[in-house]
Symmetry: C2
Subunit: 452 residues, 2 copies
Amino acid sequence: MPADVVTMDKIVSLTRRRGFVFPSSEIYGGLGSTYDYGHYGVLTKNNIRSRWFESMVQERDDIVALDSAVILNPLVWEASGHVEGFTDPLVDCRTCKLRFRADRLEDSHCGRKPSKRPGETPDCDLTEPRQFNLMFETSVGALTEEGSKAYLRPETAQGIFINFKNVLQLARRRPPFGIAQVGKSFRNEITPGNFLFRLREFEQMEMEFFVPPDDAERWHAYWIDARLAWYRGLGLRESSLRVREHGPEERSHYSLATSDIEYLYPIGWSELEGVANRGDYDLRQHTEASGTKLEYVDPDGSRYTPFVIEPAVSIDRIMLALLVDAYDEEVVEGRERTLLRLHPVVAPVKAAVLPLISKESAGMVEPARKLYEELRRHHFVEYDDAGNIGRRYRRQDEIGTPWAFTIDDVTLEDGTVTVRDRDSLAQERLPLDGVRAWLDEALERPWEPLPR
Amino acid sequence: MPADVVTMDKIVSLTRRRGFVFPSSEIYGGLGSTYDYGHYGVLTKNNIRSRWFESMVQERDDIVALDSAVILNPLVWEASGHVEGFTDPLVDCRTCKLRFRADRLEDSHCGRKPSKRPGETPDCDLTEPRQFNLMFETSVGALTEEGSKAYLRPETAQGIFINFKNVLQLARRRPPFGIAQVGKSFRNEITPGNFLFRLREFEQMEMEFFVPPDDAERWHAYWIDARLAWYRGLGLRESSLRVREHGPEERSHYSLATSDIEYLYPIGWSELEGVANRGDYDLRQHTEASGTKLEYVDPDGSRYTPFVIEPAVSIDRIMLALLVDAYDEEVVEGRERTLLRLHPVVAPVKAAVLPLISKESAGMVEPARKLYEELRRHHFVEYDDAGNIGRRYRRQDEIGTPWAFTIDDVTLEDGTVTVRDRDSLAQERLPLDGVRAWLDEALERPWEPLPR
């Protein structure tokens, strides 16, 4: 279906209906822009995380893993510039009492006349902008005075920089090499929204790649290409991906150059992943603030502070892009179906095992259970015996299950099962004892999205 | 080696030296009882998490996954009893200015005379105990008044309870069924310590199993047995595991009965995992506070509030138990070696590929790289060409790599490699093109720890 027919509402509705994503704390009226992932959401996220980790760490020589704490020594955030500079400008309206991002007034609505933007009506009375820090604050220890103040990390990257020397020494690395980390980050956004696009807590996947300064531009280009290829490998359509270079005014305080890999979300082209050249900013800041030299000393005695190339993304935004890209509706033989044409590598359930008749006495349950129990030792598969077969197929379509194996009368005669393909709806018969190998192979086959 | 020779210091030293665990924010003087996991620590944690998730969710019909937010609506913690009751009693000494847990004075040391405990010296001047809440507080949104106060979750369980109805409806479940969740929890412990044993932030793996009230005791017993079996399956020694039932005075406010699976850590027998019968406490509390009925309605019209059986553990404590259990030192042919006899399923690196001579011209690098690149598509393996072969073996022993494949002169002649077994030090030769299948099989073989 055409991309512009895939609305955010349809995605929110499907993911809610099928248990991918729930509004968080719903029975208590929610908590703005916070979501809980249900069963299929968790499985999809696990697949995204695994693919990232495999491609970044397992399948490479030059990147190692790290998992640093959420609450770091607060001096880290002083040195990184976040205490000073990780802020949004806010204005209050003294009339309607609402608060707005001063740099996004054009996207905001007056509290009295929502058809106007703040400042456009005579009774708007806006304060001067003031800087509001996006880091969540807390206190560590039993004392509550200033000395115990701490922050929830707004990015995982700083946990990597402060461990640079540990990894250099213990993992016996020399530039170019990288440190990869997956974990939650927290930002007290004033205007979060657009479903999973901007959240107050989100799961980041960041990799800091340390290189000789002269090679930084080349590696920056390398990582933009590598990350684009990775998204294609997840099945995202070429036509919905593009690279956009930041202008000087939109770059973060640490960035020498940043390119966004953008995806065509229902809200328009927006950042999926940022690939930044952070230069030597962070290592220098921490060297100065901590007194620990974060530099590379070559065996020949020469020394330098590496530059850092950083591909950084959140699993939540990838999840949203995958859902949008995979969402489809079609009419087949007079019946509507909604489906997620997810790449099998990210589909939450790889295959469904369905006994045509779920009464034990029909003899299909036993072989179906046996097949299911064999397959689930290796893959996430589902056994479903509830409702008529058409309804079960439609349920599997909506959660994006690539294949369904149906045990029917013929199975009892000749030991074959039907395999149904989610995308083409083609059906073929396979010997029961060949299903495991067939599925293993099917999961390795190249997969391409349909053009839109 | 005898269990009592494995000291916490030895574990801390090995894990630091080999990059499993670093003190967090070290270049800034650290942050009490917070650790960052290095490369091998991350890989080991990933293995623990995967095994838990596979056994809890993938390999069962009756448990689904959830991933709820860290910062929930604060009403959740009012209803759960945590705002009121999740506290430790503290006393201050007006003389030495130190603060102590009132219920652990016997483990504390006077600030003036450390050989005495607080209250034992004439100049101790202790205040009355006051209750200190263990939840970290923060504020959400741009306002900082009372209405925006929020908490970092001290357990993942409440995120499960408040989604009970969603899962009941959407995952089409009826008791007995469970909801499993993995994620960080945070506790502002006054006396954290003992390395990974008690941390301020830790990664929990919790499963809430909802059952008819009359079946709760039976399911409680079932889960204690199932979890014990799971730990045996990770290779922990039978002799270092035991079950201990809580006395009435040590149970949490929600618990009808709790049994700890304890491990014999260097600090003595201590909780590894708690298996609690939470009764219907949580669902009833949230029903009352939210006005949403969290109960099960049978198709026959009967209704009840399920009881909850909860196996809850942190990955960090499992990691510590695995390290303690696996640590060994021995003298072989006059040379000392330190090794981690980890079960292959949790070992961070499954195999090392080692060219005997790392000079390109010796001809061993090419087949070694080829083998390494084939194996790493399926398993975490490592290529190591640095230093003499004995040193490389010792390095792999210390990170617990079960097998090493060495490419040597004979490989170039007859296409076989040496496989060295970490535990027995036995060596045999395998055809190069059979290594992949050999490793797949070896990873499926039963594995038993050596008796201590």
